[in-house]
Structures are given as structure tokens and as C-alpha cells.
Symmetry: C2
Subunit: 315 residues, 2 copies
Amino acid sequence: MRYSIGIDIGGTNTDIGLVSGDGRCLARKNLSTASYFDASVYVADICAKIHEMMAEQQVDAIDGIGIAAPAGNYYTGCIENATNLNFKGIIDLPKLFREHIDVPVVVSNDANAAAYGELVYGGAKGMKNFITFTLGTGVGSGIVIDGKLVHGKTGNAGELGHAILILGGRPCGCGRKGCLETYTSATGIRRTALEVLAQHPEYNGPLSKLSEEELTSKHVGDAANAGDPLALEIFRMTGEWLGIALANAVAFSSPEAIFLMGGPVKAGEVLMKPVRESFQRNLCFVYDNSVEIKVSELSGNNVAILGAAALTKAK
Amino acid sequence: MRYSIGIDIGGTNTDIGLVSGDGRCLARKNLSTASYFDASVYVADICAKIHEMMAEQQVDAIDGIGIAAPAGNYYTGCIENATNLNFKGIIDLPKLFREHIDVPVVVSNDANAAAYGELVYGGAKGMKNFITFTLGTGVGSGIVIDGKLVHGKTGNAGELGHAILILGGRPCGCGRKGCLETYTSATGIRRTALEVLAQHPEYNGPLSKLSEEELTSKHVGDAANAGDPLALEIFRMTGEWLGIALANAVAFSSPEAIFLMGGPVKAGEVLMKPVRESFQRNLCFVYDNSVEIKVSELSGNNVAILGAAALTKAK
């Protein structure tokens, strides 16, 4: 059996997993990212956790370490000027890890790692051309063409959350307006919900019981699954927007499937049905019947670790 | 010296060129596509022209034949249900050519051929990641990632003219609304001009001297270059739209350059300046200073033939 390590670096926590060749997360440990201010101490502690897991699982050797990191650059292996980490400037992860463990270290961002997780361990096994969209705080995407993740000139290819969907639309954290993620991320769904609620002062369903601060996309999903008409309308609008974005992505790379993942997707058919309907309506006819819209087959707490571990198998 | 044949099949004419390895079109001949109703007779006549050119130029052997054809499928080599040709159904070009000349035959559409022309003979020489947009009757695009043209699952990848730019916008020939090509093709520019002229009945500049039937994007370009304010406004609007589409394309594949070609681009800076300004304004900051917007370095009457010939060097 071959083994690899997947590391998911978030602003708050760092999850570290030991992954078997068949995609099982055999062990996991974590660290508080936010409590570190020196990257070399941080990496030394991660490596200590890796050695502990290997000893506990009686694993003698690993093939590589895959790391999903904010502002992680595939080409350089560095975290470059991450805005939500204490580590400033350029952090050369492969160099720091090499002081403790001498195996290949592959770095990318979490959306690209998710795409590789789907390819290596999930529903995209054997596929040559597909795209993943992760709906979270933002919208991340990973694009696989001819079996390889697209990195582009900068290493930042596949930022479809920042493709402009609606000209002059909602302000985005990136400083522009109308980006896809302002409409279809978990945060975007919350924005839609607040807009729709403001338009319907007579509404007294489950979403009206929550304060503006409390309301999340999870509440919208729960209400939609309980049959609440306003929640269903919010998801219909979200599905309309996302379906157009997926149809536009198909005009780019003609994939055989698009996988959706992330919190709002867990609501199930109340979101997926309007997404598929909008997608079919907005797809250019030359692609008819060539693309499936699917829910990611990776799920549970280990998705990010599996995606990171899959990066070690990236070509 | 190595030689190849480039063939550009249009609904009206077919241009055939003998191209040297360094990208010179040494000889060209043409046929009336529209006068043929039997594809095997058509291909036999093309092959006779090829043999004539080879004899006249004292070329003994060619490496391959590249064909840019409407509805040309790279994977199958077939023209598939072209709407503007007399040949109906599936036309297996490699099989038909093999009866006369036994060299590899590579088929694609004209937009993909243009991208390969730029890569092999034009401004993209040595580039790994770039995109070409051809502004004509429609908007064609060709996408090169890691040095290879993107064909996708169907062979129809890179139809960015049919990415939806404006939700619920102008009706498109594809049956949907708001496609990029309804705004930024030569035909789209004409539509914009007619809209702007209708809004300005007081205008008495050069465009007012033309009937609705006469007006083309070429007239708009000429008027813009003569300083006509209304024509400049039409190009400012076109540039605004195209710049957004180019910025969205960058979020997909992070290219190092985007090349523009086609009739309207010949107007020069009156179009290119607003395109670049809108592009910079609408580009997501992670791609700042990583992409150049360039005019194609292929020009003149041989562009389509060079692009088709370049397909024989496709990987």
C-alpha cells in the first residue's frame, strides 16, 4: 500500500491527514493556524504530527505531501501574500518541509485541490475534462482539461467565482461588481435571502424568525426542504444564476461533467433542480446532452484532506 | 524545406494554399464551394488543385493537409451537419482525401485554426497559454493551454462567442439571449450602431448618410478614425463589452496574452484602446500585469490558409 499526506491550511485551523492509496483517510490531526506567527515553527509542528500519525499507523514511508493553502501557488510551492494568515509575504513551504521530511511537496489552493480530489478519489475518476465548483464563503473552481489541472500563466487559473455574471451587479470583495460569487456562494445566497425578505414584509415563514445576523444559507436550505415558498424562490434565483455560469463554463472547455460541492449543495434537489433547469435552458445547443451536472462524490469531514493528498498525484 | 497544405472551406468559396515550413503561402488556388453538391467530386477537385500547385512549385511531398471547415470536428475529422454548406449530414474528409493523397488530414473550425496559426506562424510563437478572438459575422475563439488547443469532450470547446455576457440581452442566432457575439461581432457592432443612431436623430455625421441596409462595422471604424463622436461612442460601448468578456476568459485559463483578429480589429486603436481600458478595469486583481491584449500578427489574405496549414502541426 502507498500513502500520502494531505494538509488543509485554513485561517483558523490546519487539518493534517494520512491517506491510503485507495482514498481512505486513516488518521487525522489538527493545529491552530492562528496561534502561529513563525512559519518555520508552524511547519516543524505539522511535521511532528505527521511523524506521530505514521508511527501510530505503522506506516514507514509516504509518497508525498499535498497542501491546500490560501494563496498557494502551484508553480512556486509558496504561499504568496495570503490575506487571512499570520504569515506575511512569501512562505516557501517545500523548503520548510524539506528540513524535516524529504518527500515531494505539492501546493495549490483549496478549489484546485477539490478538483484533484474528485479526479483521484471521487466521481471524476477516469474523466479527462471536467470542472468543479465549490460554494462556500466564496465560489472556488478547479478546471481539468485532458486529465490535467489548469494552472495558466500565473498559477491562478480557474477563478470562476470572479467571472462577472451581472454587469454592474452586487459589489464583490475583490473590488469589482457582479462576480458570480456575490450571487451563488453561501454568502451570496444569504444576500439574496435578505433582499427577498425585504421585498416580502408580509412573510411569516421560518426565515422570518431569524435576525439578519443569524440568517445563513443553511437556514434557507432547511426551509426550502420543509417546503417554504420564499426559501424555494431564493434557491430558484440562485439556480438560475449558477446555471448560466455553468453554461458559460461549458462554452469554454466543453467538459463531460461539472461537479458541485460545498455547504449549500448539501440542501440537495431544492437547489440542484433549479440549477439543472437553468443550465439546460442556457446551454448553447452544440453542447446538448454532452454534460452532466453532478454533486461531488467526496463528502464528509475529509474532503479537504483528500483533495490535498490528491495533489501529490497531480501531473 | 517541409511543406503543408492549408484549406479554408467557406460557404461560398474554398481557398487552398501551399505553405512552407516558415509560414509563407507559396501558392493559392480556389474553388466555388457553393457549386458542388457531391462531396467526393468536391474533394477530388481540391486534390487536383493541390497536385497542380505542387507541380508548379516543384514540391515533391507534403507533410499533411489542414482544413478549417464550418462544423469541422477535430476528433472525427468530419464536417458534421453544417448549416451553410450544400453537403448534408456527416462528411468524412480524411477518408475522401485518402483516395487521392495519402498524408495526414487534420480538421477543425476556423476559430481554432486561427489560434493554431497564431501559435505556429504568428505572435504566439513559444507561448504556452493564450486565447484568440476572431470578430466576424460571429465571434470565434480558440484556446491554447499548455501549448495545446482545447477541444474538450465534444470537440467544440472554445465557443466564447456564445458565452452569455448580458442576461436577457440581445437575441442570438443560437436561440438564446445576450451572447457575446450579439454585441462584439461585426454584426453586433452594426446592431449597436443602429441602436445609437436611433437614439440620436439630430446626428448628421458620416454614418447618417448611409441607409440601414448599407451600414456596416467597417463604416463605423472609418468614421471613428475620422473623429466622428458617435462612431467613437459605438466603439467605446463595444470595447466595454469585449473587455469584460476578455477579463472573464482570463479568470478561466490565466493566459499570457489574448489576440484579437477580424474586420473590426483593423480599425486599430479606436477600438483597441477602449477594449484595453475596459479589460484593465474589469480584470480580477490576481491577474494584474499578467496578460497582454494584442492584435493578431497574422494579417492579409492568407490568414485562414496559414491557420488551416498550422493544424497539421497540432498536438
